[in-house]
Symmetry: C2
Amino acid sequence: MKDLLGRDEAVTVEEALRLLNEQKLKLPVTESIPIENAFGRALAQDIVSPENLPGFNRSTMDGYAVNSADTFGASDTMPVYLQIKGQVLMGQRPEIRLRRGEACQIPTGGMLPEGADAIVMFEYTSRLDNEMVEIMKTVSPGENVIMFDEDVKKGEVILKAGHRLRPQDIGALAGLGILEIEVYGKPVAAIISTGDEVVPVDKPLSIGEVRDINSYNLAGMISACHAVPLKKGIVKDDLDILREAVKQALNSSDMLLITGGSSVGVADYTARVINELGSPGVLFHGVAMKPGKPVIGGIVDGKPVFGLPGHPAAITVSFETFIEPLLIRLSGEIPNPVIPSRRTVRALFSRNLSSAVGREEHVRVYVEKRNGALWAVPVLGKSGLVRTLVQADGIVVIPMNKSGIYEGEEVEVRLFRD
Amino acid sequence: MKDLLGRDEAVTVEEALRLLNEQKLKLPVTESIPIENAFGRALAQDIVSPENLPGFNRSTMDGYAVNSADTFGASDTMPVYLQIKGQVLMGQRPEIRLRRGEACQIPTGGMLPEGADAIVMFEYTSRLDNEMVEIMKTVSPGENVIMFDEDVKKGEVILKAGHRLRPQDIGALAGLGILEIEVYGKPVAAIISTGDEVVPVDKPLSIGEVRDINSYNLAGMISACHAVPLKKGIVKDDLDILREAVKQALNSSDMLLITGGSSVGVADYTARVINELGSPGVLFHGVAMKPGKPVIGGIVDGKPVFGLPGHPAAITVSFETFIEPLLIRLSGEIPNPVIPSRRTVRALFSRNLSSAVGREEHVRVYVEKRNGALWAVPVLGKSGLVRTLVQADGIVVIPMNKSGIYEGEEVEVRLFRD
């Protein structure tokens, strides 16, 4: 559908996300890497445990290993007395075999001797001499013990393909002796800046020119998503040059972001190039959101290509809304839908703010404490301003069916990444 | 204060944090780096703008540059007619000087010609021929224009020392042509694993031994805090060897984490070494929390040193509670107290769970959706288990003055980093 100016009509944010989500993506090739480099990477294989963990019956307390039946009825006032039978040393298989009526000192992490099935903590014991210990508590079988296969069983799937590895997951792999794993390659997101007025940041600025702010902002956001930014420089507003640059950039990346080329203007060739270079091409051109309305979203042979408006605030909002979820998909992660991907904070909105029904508004806010309550204060200003992004802590979204926010209304602030 | 077993009495979490916070830390030396490497680093200098941004009066819309006074009263039904005086090209200073009654086509980002003070969007114009354009809207002075110093004024402090740089901050620096900045060095956190039963992950395991899980878990958490992990290997339970290893590790790091050496046991030399090597030494030994009770916290000549219990869950909880805030301080960041450092999600607790009054309990939970509501389901299990960490999505804290959580009670889940 075209509007009166020959532009495609804006789709809703929901519709744009649906159009992107139903497309198959070309995931980066998988690679085998050592676990120490795997933090933040998505597993390309299920991890099957090669062994039981901890592999032996292990004490979780400092105390005495006992046969729990011997402690039956023991209490402060009615202790039982057990014969001391040596000591378990850390990291060694105990030679001792406990008989009924015997106990053996054991440190946290020590291996239970044969005949023992529980640990009495030191706190509930009193050593009378080298021969005898007083036990002042009844313990059940397995108390203060991790059984040999209680943590992980041999052959069990401990982590699934599509899981993004957190620090403790790497710890678990180390614990199982798995030192190399198959993960998805980090997605590479190429950035092309367009616009005859855009100049490299290290060039002296003439009147009418602006520095290439957006490739820096985008590179940071891409890195924060465990992906790799690849800056492909600034391209002049020329169809043939842009087509060639896009073709080259797509050869060395999994996603392409073109900034500055999505406003309606004489130099707007982005949509045309996306359609020319592969299928399905442009999925939407214009989204009912503010800022970010002129965003172009497309897929070229499994690789997402975006035309982003040149305003810094629009770049951030478009990235968070459309590009971040795609980078997560490209990383191979199958995200848990109930886990939010971003930090949030609840606050009271500081003023009345109206919003046009029919478009989703992303309001930049900073958060401050006043009289014990948190307030979200909108940072108003034109979306071209760098200041509004630097001063803001995050975004409050006004849904498209709402006509605004009242002063004092509770809102959720989605915080920027750091 | 010692308890009956000769141990120091546990302090509360609040008290432990207070003891750490009142200590002065030795911050890493600052360094000058290019802005493209500065994401996540803390500024060691105020950033003063060397120039006005955008530096020229800039259009924020595609349309016609006009003298706003000429549009007074213009509407759909009462348009005004202006003489077309050429066109502004992107990135170029316009030669044109608008007189009253004239308008000039301008793209988004274009520089306003002299004599113009506002932009009328294309939507509200109709070009009659090459000479004349119909204006159907009244614009105010400055409408759809960013003034030359409206974004940033020359000499203004745009970012303050102690601010951790986010993607848009790097964009702002690029926009101002600031390409190198002074930041704090990344804090280096050394890790020593202790315990006669702990073996390197690449060594075949004998009965009674466990692999060095914790240094992997810790290294991931340290990296996630924009800091650098430095593994110093496994040290046997020997006072002299440990003292030497700690001394060496402190020479090449800003913080030291010693795992496995904080249980009460024959091999517990950590506290002694911390006290011997510098002042003030041990600040607390034992905290009223679960897991993580045996944690030792100290400072050796401005460098934090921790003795951490060997259980993976205790490692994670101690790290999140004590070490993460110190790493943030060591990074040079002055954190905004109203901004949470972690992702959270609100959920209903899935069952009754009691907790001892007098200690803070950190319950690992996973989050799931049932009948449209989010539930936090505790992953129960001994804190030695890797599984409880791998299955969990995050932590619910039961404060020390609460005796538990009821089924259906709303809780905040603090999610693990990824």
